[in-house]
Symmetry: D2
Subunit: 306 residues, 4 copies
Amino acid sequence: MPKLAYLGPEGTFTEEALRILAPEAERLPSPNVTAALEAVRRGEADGAVVPMENSLEGAITTTLDELARGESLLITAELLLPVEFSLLARPDTEIGHIKRVFTHPAAITQCRNFIARELPDAVVVAAPSTAAAAQEVALPGSPYDAAIAARIAGEHYGLVELAAGIGDRTDTVTRFVQVSRPGPLPEPTGADRTSLVVFLADDHPGALLEMLTEFSVRGVNLSRIESRPTGDGIGRYFFHFDFEGHVADARVGEAISGLHRISAKVRFLGSYPRADGLFPQIKRGTNDGDFTEAAEWLGRIRTGQV
Amino acid sequence: MPKLAYLGPEGTFTEEALRILAPEAERLPSPNVTAALEAVRRGEADGAVVPMENSLEGAITTTLDELARGESLLITAELLLPVEFSLLARPDTEIGHIKRVFTHPAAITQCRNFIARELPDAVVVAAPSTAAAAQEVALPGSPYDAAIAARIAGEHYGLVELAAGIGDRTDTVTRFVQVSRPGPLPEPTGADRTSLVVFLADDHPGALLEMLTEFSVRGVNLSRIESRPTGDGIGRYFFHFDFEGHVADARVGEAISGLHRISAKVRFLGSYPRADGLFPQIKRGTNDGDFTEAAEWLGRIRTGQV
Amino acid sequence: MPKLAYLGPEGTFTEEALRILAPEAERLPSPNVTAALEAVRRGEADGAVVPMENSLEGAITTTLDELARGESLLITAELLLPVEFSLLARPDTEIGHIKRVFTHPAAITQCRNFIARELPDAVVVAAPSTAAAAQEVALPGSPYDAAIAARIAGEHYGLVELAAGIGDRTDTVTRFVQVSRPGPLPEPTGADRTSLVVFLADDHPGALLEMLTEFSVRGVNLSRIESRPTGDGIGRYFFHFDFEGHVADARVGEAISGLHRISAKVRFLGSYPRADGLFPQIKRGTNDGDFTEAAEWLGRIRTGQV
Amino acid sequence: MPKLAYLGPEGTFTEEALRILAPEAERLPSPNVTAALEAVRRGEADGAVVPMENSLEGAITTTLDELARGESLLITAELLLPVEFSLLARPDTEIGHIKRVFTHPAAITQCRNFIARELPDAVVVAAPSTAAAAQEVALPGSPYDAAIAARIAGEHYGLVELAAGIGDRTDTVTRFVQVSRPGPLPEPTGADRTSLVVFLADDHPGALLEMLTEFSVRGVNLSRIESRPTGDGIGRYFFHFDFEGHVADARVGEAISGLHRISAKVRFLGSYPRADGLFPQIKRGTNDGDFTEAAEWLGRIRTGQV
């Protein structure tokens, strides 16, 4: 039974993601993303589940930065998890009596309408995480009357769900990834995603355009790009790319080999099945058969068999 | 005397930036970036100073998102401020007796070596901001012995600077911008930057490449690109661009008109002098004179004067 | 009644084209393309009709080179004329008795099958033009029994058409253009073509890619490109471009202004209705309304009205 | 001793080129380029030397079209030959008595100034080739007094050189190629050229830009592009490309494999040493070592060794 670290404490959305990705796994809550990934690097866990991006908040930059540095880890799976907030309280709490609410600032933002409508007089206090808020509220003598958190947090800490689905938007989603130490990659499924990080050789104008052209020439469609600072001053960035396809695909292999040639460093972060299961539209001339046929043709003409 | 809102409380790096950008201004501390910008929109302040990005932490996404939405605001100036952390304590505190330190998590990360070397046994607790940490430490009876914050925070709250420049890197920089309600733009200086936000018309593969090509064809060099979620699900992004030049420059005008034509919406965020004062290298055929001459030529051939 | 020079002598395909393009015009046969165009430049003719390209033989390089050099002329119309060859002879000639055939080498090539089948024993001799061949055959005492030429040549010189449509292909077409001295351009029709010539500023790798990008960014589709030597040694070329649209179109104007800015010289050769009458598919964001709207938007943001 | 066909008759510039390219070869004059190449295809000759382009006249389209069609042939060498015209006459002819000059039309054009200055009253008549003109002039009873041709033609036909270097430009050059039936390619020298022909899969707007991008992404510099009609109507072209490098070079191999994948057909015409011996500037990341290293890297990451 594998042991997987995750962004804890118990009751986080990340735990919920882990339960779906690896129902059988032993779960190791970690205080933050860095700790979860370090647990994998040090061998204390077989893998980890961490958030990558949220449809409202954007990239989880700690995850991006931690995957880009230190010993390499590989993403082996991803999951899209709807973010549904619940109002959680100790048993016997009535919603009309709630004076102080504890939750993560992102949840405050995302439940603004519910709070204004249902808890107009409550003070809302920022917590380090939604799960930590629930944990705190569960303590006897807590100064807080309720937490806004995932339903799973209520189950963990013995809180009652006073209201469910209280976010302003019902379509908020967080993307989680499962990572492990380097090893065999997931098999290609035809509906795969590949992630990598590129450090520029020199930060000349047009460097980004050149990178995108390496993809587009081989018909590889980007799904996400994030610039992150290298730390060496404003204006110096490295780039995270997510794109369609598996590194075993010929078009992907050639595109990222091209990136590797023109960059200071490319760190491969993994090829894994897409959570949405969508198969890409493959541009004319870029499927594996086309590459194989072209390689055979090249072999022939190089020996003068024209 | 203009009144400028800023990311408070007193003693933040943002206040330091504001004092440099507008020494004469009346200062209005705001609890967060959103509040500072809303104060401008509502007319309670004439402008605001907010952080845009940090050379270690990356973009300040709240600032990006707030500028992209709501009523338009214009960036009129930028500042690059070295981030120098100081160890601050109540008078008579000795460094050897410090047991509990309070500061923002980014400061914990950035002062890791100093803490390990000089405060190996101290407990370090996360605060909402470095200034808030200083404010708390200044309270009589505070459970914390010291704060890590900007020197200015010590001056505000009556703390003593026990150590200065304690960050692991000495070159960390934050970029701040000054914004105001729409009005006349700063004059071009030749060393300008322009910022804008682009919402895609349709999220087809190659949309980003097309946008970059609009810039590159007119010889406009990008200095920064940030993707941000639209909120409409994973995989849907809009883009922040910073690039060289002033919207009054012909090459910039044509490039962003091109972006405007192919996008759902372009929001102009301002043209303003670059903090580093660097003049761009202008690609052959793209200075204002070249555009004027080409327009005259086009006028002639359109009337058959060839 | 305008006087138009054309590639003569009487009876050429060019004369046929002229009769269609300008039925009322007075016709001035010229010994070659250079002479026809010089007649216009010197004012001896009001315009000229010359061949531009043939679907089998390709560009008529003399026309390309003459239009690129000397005083500017403007193309005002084009015509696609099917090339149909006839076997022409003096009255009373029987096909079985034809021993010597006279015609232009291109006609020899294009009627190869007919000649092999119907005139297997005939000697075929190269003539300077098909019309000149007909003219020669018409002379009493000519050593040639038949000419291969346009039917119109037979009518001119009193020859009988022994066989019609004798080309191997039935779809061969020549494109002719009518040119005049500079003056008002033909009005845009929506189905227009524009021709121009570009001399490179410096012959760096990628110069051609840059030129094509100036077109593609504005959604202007090329229909033809020809490289021609500058005369300054192997490896030095200038380029003829034909593309969709009229110079009065905003997208065309901006594209060729871009070419003008990055090139040593652009010579405009004219905008004129397409012979095939096809309307182009206009790429999103590139019609005149899009450009007007973008210019208004740019005007607003330049004055801070965002 | 190999037998090489060439564009005859004896005394052409092509013969001169052949003598330099293959001094030991047996020479087989052919009446035209088509015949010379057919002689190779049928095995009557071991190879052929034919003109490819001229710095004043441009491409020799017959050569381009013949190499693009029929059985494949391979270019194995190229030569740049200065074109120097001489005025040739039968012994005892005085220049002042020359009344009728015979030569090829290209020579008439290129010697215009000499003719106007030295032979102002002479009639100049068009000949099928400069060598044929010399051959004719050499006949006793020829109606022509002099030929303009290569010096070598005078030597062949026993004519005297009355004037040398009589072209208006002294730098006119013709590029010749030596071709043979398919077989082992010339070894890479580092200063090589590769030629090929591309037939488009579908003639969509942007097809040419896509082809050029296949080259530019791999840092392969084009030296020449020629469009030629497919024969299927005006507006349908195929393309000849000459570019730097040898098909054995990794960057060239990948670029033309890319072309092969996106095109209907690519015909390889050969890799051979450049006549000018210039070594290309190789773009960062595109030499063979870079490709080898990238392939090894790709191999490792595909097996999860990151």
